[in-house]
C-alpha cells in the first residue's frame, strides 16, 4: 500500500499517478479501513482477471522485459508470471484470495511518501516531489500555486499513521521516499517511533537519499534496524549529473556516496543505485553500470519515466538513439554473465547482481528499440530547459555538446 505526499492512499506503490484529489485521504479514512474496505473492488477486479488502467506502467515495463512493480509484489506472495497458475494456487494466500477481495488482514508492506521537502531540484522532477523545484517553478511562472502541504506537516496525521504501523505486528517492509528523506522531519519521527516500539528488530526499512546530505541523528536511528535497504539516487558519474540533479555537484555526490556506502557495508545493509534515465542522461548512463559492476551493487529504477513527457528517453531521435543502443549492446557483450537461469524478479538478491545489471540494461535496449520516436517533443524540452537555465546560469550545451545541432534546431 502507498501513502502519497498529499496523504492520498493508493492500492499499490506502483499504481500510475493520478490527481491525489481523486484518491481517498488519510485525513478522511484510516489506512486500515482503506485497506480492508476501499480496496475490496480493486482486489475483486484483479481476481476477476481485469487489467487495471492504473497498472499501465507495470505492463509497459513488462513489455520491454524490465522487472515491474507488479512482478515484485506478486513475488512477495509467492506468485511468478512464469508458472503463474501453479504458483498462484500454491501461494500461502490462496485461501485469502478466495474471499473475493475482502480481508481482515493488515498491510504488511508500505511505501511512505513523506512530502516534497527537498534541497535538490532535478530537471526531470516535478513540483509535487521537490519543494525547491516548486519554488523555482512558481518564480518562473510555470505554476500558479505551490503544491498542497504534505500530510506529514500535520503532527496528528503522523501520529495516526504511526499508530497504524505499531498496531500492525506483521509488517515486513516500509519504504520511505521524499522529497529528500534524510532532512524530512517526519522520517526521524517515524523511525524514532519504530525504535521505541521495538519494531526496528523485525521490520525492514528502505529509503532513498539524494546524496547531498548527512545527518548523524538519522544514522543513529538507522543502525538500530535489523535490516535496511539503502537507495542512492544518481544519474551518471559524468558531469551531466550536475546538470540533471542540480544543484548537487559530482564531488559532493561522490563524497556522500562513499560515506553512505561505507556505513551500509559496515552494517550489512542492502544497497542499490537508483536512477531515473531521461533523454538527457541516457548517453552517460553506462558510467553507472560500470561503477555498479565494479562495486557489486545493483541498479534500480522505478519505471520508464513518463512525466515530464519531454524528458522520456524515447524523445531521443532515432539516429541518436542508435548510437546509444550500440553502446549499450557493446557493454552487455563485454560483461558476460550467466544468463542461463530464468528472469531475475528478486532484483535485490545480491548474489545475482551481475545478471541483474545486464538484465536491467537489456530492458533499456528493448525500450529504445521498440518505443516510437517522440522527438517531436524536443521543442518542449528546449523551452523548459531555457527557462530553468535563466535562473540557474548553466547551459545544457556545456554538458551535451554532441547534441548541439539537435538543441539548436529545436530553438535553443
Amino acid at each position: 500500500m502507498r501513502i502519497g505526499n498529499a496523504g492520498n492512499l493508493e492500492y499499490c506503490r506502483w499504481a500510475n499517478e493520478q490527481d491525489p484529489k481523486l484518491s481517498e485521504n488519510i485525513r478522511d479514512i484510516t489506512p486500515v479501513d482503506f485497506f480492508q474496505k476501499s480496496m475490496v473492488p480493486i482486489r475483486a477486479a484483479l481476481l476477476d482477471g481485469e487489467a487495471l488502467p492504473r497498472c499501465g506502467e507495470c505492463y509497459q515495463m513488462e513489455q520491454h522485459h524490465k522487472v515491474s512493480g507488479r512482478q515484485k509484489q506478486l513475488l512477495k506472495v509467492g506468485v511468478r508470471l512464469e508458472h503463474f497458475e501453479k504458483t498462484l494456487a500454491s501461494s500461502p494466500w490462496v485461501k485469502e484470495f478466495a474471499r473475493g477481495g475482502t480481508t481482515d488482514e493488515l498491510p504488511q508492506d508500505w511505501q511512505i511518501e513523506l512530502g516534497n521537502y527537498c534541497n535538490s531540484a532535478c530537471v526531470f522532477c516535478l513540483p509535487e516531489f521537490s519543494s525547491k523545484l516548486a519554488m523555482e517553478h512558481r518564480q518562473l511562472g510555470l505554476i500558479a500555486q505551490l503544491p498542497p502541504p504534505s500530510w506529514t506537516d500535520d503532527p496528528d496525521l503522523v501520529d495516526r499513521f504511526i499508530d497504524t504501523l505499531t498496531q500492525s505486528p506483521h509488517i515486513q517492509y516500509l519504504h520511505f521516499i521524499g522529497g529528500e528523506t534524510v532532512i524530512t522531519p517526519a522520517f526521524k519521527t517515524i523511525l524514532s517511533a519504530l525504535v521505541s516500539s521495538g519494531m526496528n528488530r523485525t521490520v525492514a526499512i528502505g529509503f532513498t537519499t539524494n546524496l547531498t546530505v548527512w545527518r548523524d541523528d538519522i544514522e543513529e536511528l538507522l543502525v538500530q534496524f535489523a535490516s535496511v535497504h539503502l537507495g542512492m539516487s544518481l544519474e551518471s558519474f559524468d558531469a551531466i549529473n550536475d546538470y540533471v540533479r542540480w544543484p548537487v555537484t559530482l564531488p559532493t555526490m561522490n563524497q556522500q556516496l562513499n560515506r553512505w556506502t561505507t556505513l551500509a557495508r559496515k552494517h550489512n545493509w542492502y544497497i542499490t543505485l537508483r536512477t531515473t534515465p531521461t533523454v538527457l542522461s541516457l548517453s552517460r548512463l553506462l558510467t553507472v553500470y560500470d561503477y555498479a559492476w565494479d562495486q557489486g551493487i545493483s541498479v534500480e529504477s522505478c519505471n520508464f519515466l513518463n512525466r515530464p513527457e519531454f524528458m522520456r528517453p524515447a524523445v531521443l531521435p532515432l539516429e541518436y538513439r542508435q548510437q546509444e543502443l550500440n553502446r549499450m549492446n557493446a557493454w552487455i557483450a563485454q560483461h558476460s554473465t550467466d544468463l542461463s537461469h530464468s528472469k531475475i524478479v528478486n532484483i535485490r538478491d545480491p548474489n545475482v547482481f551481475q545478471q541483474q545489471l545486464v538484465q536491467d540494461l537489456q530492458s533499456y535496449v528493448a525500450y529504445l528499440e521498440a518505443e516510437s520516436d517522440q522527438s517531436w517533443r524536443w521543442p518542449d524540452l528546449v523551452q523548459y530547459l531555457k527557462k530553468l537555465e535563466t535562473r540557474r546560469g548553466n547551459s545544457i550545451l556545456n554538458y551535451l555538446p554532441e547534441y548541439e545541432e539537435l538543441f539548436r534546431s529545436a530553438g535553443y
Binding site: G49, L75, G78, E85, P92, Q108, D109, Q172
Partner: protein, 84 residues
C-alpha cells in the same frame, strides 16, 4: 484460466522427471528424492542442483513445492496471512 475461480476449479499437477522417467505429483504434495537422483520439477532442475540440502541421502520437500522453491532459489520474502 480467465479468473481466480477458474483457477480454483482447475486441478494442477507437478510434472516430475526422475532419472529420465516421467511422473506426476499433486501441487501440494510433499516430495522425497534420493540425493543421487537427477530430478526436474516442471522443468526446473532440483537435483543435483540442491543436493547440498539433502540429509541422510534424501532431499525432502515438506511443503508445497513452489513455496519451497521460492525460498531455496533466493526469491526473497514470502509473506503469509496473519489473521486467517
Amino acid at each position: 484460466m480467465k479468473n481466480f475461480l477458474d483457477l480454483l476449479a482447475t486441478e494442477h499437477h507437478l510434472d516430475l522427471v526422475i532419472n529420465g522417467g516421467q511422473s506426476v505429483a499433486g501441487l501440494h504434495d510433499h516430495l522425497t528424492f534420493s540425493q543421487n537422483d537427477t530430478v526436474t520439477v516442471d522443468g526446473i532442475e532440483i537435483l543435483p542442483r540442491y543436493q547440498y540440502m539433502a540429509a541422510e541421502g534424501v532431499l525432502q520437500i515438506n511443503q508445497p513445492f513452489y513455496c519451497w522453491y521460492h525460498t531455496v532459489s533466493g526469491q526473497g520474502w514470502l509473506l503469509e496471512p496473519c489473521v486467517s
